[in-house]
Amino acid sequence: MLSGHLVGSLFSMAGRVCVSRGSARSGAIGPVEAAIRTKLEQALNPEVLELRNESGGHAVPPGSETHFRVAVVSSRFEGLSPLQRHRLVHAALSEELAGPVHALAIQARTPAQWRENPQLDTSPPCLGGSKKTRGTP
């Protein structure tokens, strides 16, 4: 609101540099993605759960399950700060975050907040990453 155009410019940059992001979605759902979905459903009983494997935009082999974006819409988030909401998501996925998952972008919304803007955002482009230490989150 304060600076819509600036936010726009920050993330339109993402659009320009971005490699094809849809490829991961068209492929089969991997075991990590399936586990993330199941665990979030069990832990937070979400009204909406949108999950995107964004690994295709990063310096990892094809078919990787390292980078994800998730939108979790749950009434459990009512009255909680963004930090507290994210911690609930982290707690549900502690195993994945300690293991294969390298990056997890989180949109944690209440049902009312989701209805205001019901979309999974786009992540900024990868900038090369830590190839030396790849594999450790």
Binding site: M1, L6, L10, P82, H86, A98, A103, A105, C126, T133
Partner: protein, 154 residues
């Protein structure tokens, strides 16, 4: 021990010289007890500067899109005087800061010694205006307020 401290000192970057000169130079004093990942050291580190970020890469050359987004958001608000630590230079720091905040990912942002969140939360605070307010509490006037004022006066 001294090697570890040397690495920590090298990992520390002061971003933006000139503005907020009062804090200048503090950043090079990275010495403290414990390794670079010890909680005592990290506690001192996040409290030493008003704005502290842990990144993959440097503000000049972020190595991750999410770290870059944090840098760009601070830049939009005209926050130049902040301490940035590159976790890729120091594996102990990389793990230590995650344990310290109980937060599994990098980047991490601290305002006035308090953990604020990562890229998603900083972006959200930027979008809803909370960041301007939080910076104000630290005595930092967001550059976006200045821009707004200029536009209003024209």
């Amino acid at each position: 021990m001294s090697g570890s401290l040397g690495r920590a000192a090298a990992a520390l970057l002061r971003w933006g010289r000139g503005a907020g000169g009062g804090l200048r130079g503090q950043g090079v004093r990275a010495a403290s007890s414990g390794g670079s990942g010890s909680s005592e050291r990290l506690d001192a580190l996040v409290k030493k500067d008003r704005v502290v970020v842990f990144l993959k890469g440097t503000p000049e050359q972020p190595q991750c899109g999410f770290s870059n987004a944090v840098v760009q958001i601070l830049r939009l608000h005209g926050v130049r005087d902040y301490a940035a630590y590159n976790v890729l230079d120091d594996p102990q720091l990389r793990q230590g800061i995650k344990d310290y905040s109980n937060w599994p990912t990098i980047p991490q942002v601290y305002l006035n010694g308090e953990f604020v969140g990562g890229c998603d939360i900083l972006l959200q605070m930027h979008q809803n205006g909370d960041l301007v307010e939080e910076l104000k509490k630290l005595g930092i006037r967001s550059a976006l307020l200045g821009e707004k004022k200029d536009q209003d006066s024209k």
